[in-house]
Symmetry: C2
Subunit: 361 residues, 2 copies
């Protein structure tokens, strides 16, 4: 504790991101990155941008990317906000739409950054318990006091809520902003973007880090009613005029233009996921039905903590959350087929080793 | 006004950045960008980073850049904070060190983002009047209630405060954080970084946008006591874990490594500035003694507003602030010699034209 810290700093409980080890030999299955690099058109676009204008400020509203998103999602430009990753957009949204005197709500098991934002901005929150199968009890989110945040598909569970259910939640919160965090939606059936023109209180937040394979570039976007977007822009322009740099704008715009590459890599990851799930079940895991680029699994006999540790020793990072409700689970990113083949081999050895030690003791 | 806006949005008065026209034929002398591109090593570094790892998240604390800054400024790594431009660092600093019940102070004429942050975070502020020659009355900043922010050199005036005076202000605010915004310090005699180890309440904020010619890449850094840096990190990690992307980290690190290029381009700009000042005086301008990469000038006869408009019509953008105290002044970025030669030619024509119209009317 430092004597110059504000009350704001004192009440923060910073988010702890998944480990970022710099060892290229490690297989990272812990932060849901995309195993395929971005479209080759991304580096071409960055290369040509870089040659010209790094000494000039970027366009404050990232117009080029805004145009691509407008075209791709068939929405008007005044419904689009561009940010430095979806995390920045979520932070701005908490400032723009929530109040220190109105309790917001989100699922008790979800992206663990939501309570961090709430603490930072002093916003009270209610963590709504999930059903026993980890599904979200939609009715419990109706008529919230101060706002709603739902990740769809949810993380770390990977479970997906149908758009009709999302619509129910939005409809039943006419006085609140409902934020749907669709970080993983491109691996799932359907987005809530189609609802945006119908509901002035819906904000859909997206990232380029997962399906577009640009975690290293820091780009996210939100689609919502122009009134909400204007609120976000006012916050952004009171905070940092240019949060997305020239190379990020050029690269992410190119990523959206290359539809073939996008569809191809998404489909590959979904196929790998669908092959991985039965393999995990065969090995004694309970596997939630994921619609994301990760699976959430629990072994019937072996503790998640010891699996996490042993896998790490063998050069494979998965995510284990040290949280009572989910301490028996691991979240494992769906990598490439080769990565998952290697992962399963290592996993077999780890399980065998643990069973043998158990027999010996 | 939108019914879903928070009180925070309602009280914002967003910053209006200098115009960013996308016409490459326009000579931009309005946002103090560097006319020379960044070091050629920057694009090499970006190029090699891009090939490898855009699909992976960046290092949350931008370690590579931290190492370069530590080496360059002879400070330990725990005194360094990296941000998405100095604007983001200033925003985080207002959250980390200032309170809604303690009035902070900054000069009445300075970077116009300071009151914007204060409004955003609901922090009361006192705008301390400058002396009539636009110099900063240092004693008026002693014993501030809640914190101090000073740009050195100041913008838009370009005036520089000696480090001994900065030290006086820091020493006379033992209970407050004093932020010295050194966006333009590389064009001036001396930085306050040398004071950081002596004063736990001093935070020096820097940008790579001006002297390092990387406005398009969004990188800034702060140097201060480890206690202050930890406060900033707690805010950042409660807001957005990765605000500086992989290409920005790689590029800005390379820019710091290329010391020769840095010194050469800085010196060129200073030389151009020193040649420009007498030329402006010859043409009937009052010119403040600038230690930045811009000059602040006022014509004895012609209004700043009309000069701004006429120059813009001729394809030259300079900055005019529509603010009572400085409405008679223009801030003009020091570009390359060729740009300034062209600027002076256009200026001569503009002045001639205005004088001729005056005679006719």
């Amino acid at each position: 504790m430092n004597k110059f810290w504000s009350e704001t700093v004192k009440r923060t409980k910073p988010y702890v991101p998944g480990e970022q080890l710099n060892d290229p030999n490690i297989i990272k299955l812990n932060t849901n990155e995309n195993p395929y690099g971005p479209s080759p058109q991304v580096s071409e676009a960055i290369h040509s941008e870089m040659k010209r204008t790094l000494h000039l400020y970027p366009a404050p509203d990232a117009d080029e990317l805004c145009n691509e998103i407008s075209r791709y999602y068939h929405v008007s430009k005044d419904t689009i906000f561009i940010g430095n990753g979806s995390d920045e957009i979520l932070a701005f949204s908490f400032m723009a739409f929530f109040e220190p005197h109105n309790q917001i709500c989100f699922p008790a098991i979800t992206y663990s950054f939501y309570p961090v934002y709430a603490k930072l901005f002093n916003i009270p929150y209610d963590e709504i318990a999930l059903n026993r199968d980890f599904t979200i009890p939609a009715e419990d989110f109706f008529g919230a006091e101060g706002g709603v945040v739902i990740a769809n598909p949810n993380s770390p569970t990977g479970l997906y809520l149908d758009v009709a259910v999302i619509e129910d939640i939005v409809m039943n919160n006419p006085e609140n902003v409902v934020i749907i965090d669709e970080a993983y939606i491109d691996f799932a059936p359907d987005s809530a973007v189609s609802l945006v023109t119908k509901y002035p209180n819906l904000l859909v937040v997206r990232t380029m880090s997962k399906s577009r394979s640009l975690a290293g570039l820091r780009v996210g976007f939100a689609i919502g009613d122009p009134g909400l977007i204007e609120g976000l822009k006012r916050i952004k322009d009171s905070f940092n005029s240019y949060t997305v740099d020239r190379l990020a704008i050029a690269g992410s715009s190119a990523a959206i233009r290359d539809e073939d590459y996008f569809q191809e890599t998404i489909q590959k990851i979904i196929n790998t996921r669908e092959r991985l799930i039965p393999e995990m079940k065969k090995r004694g895991f309970h596997v939630l039905p994921s619609q994301a680029n990760f699976i959430f699994v629990s072994h019937y006999k072996i503790s998640a903590e010891s699996l996490y540790q042993r896998l790490k020793q063998q050069g494979i990072l998965v995510r284990h959350f040290d949280k009572p409700d989910i301490e028996h689970y691991l979240r494992i990113t769906v990598g490439s087929d080769e990565q998952m083949k290697h992962f399963l081999e290592v996993l077999d050895n780890v399980i065998l080793h643990i069973k043998e030690s158990a027999v010996k003791n």
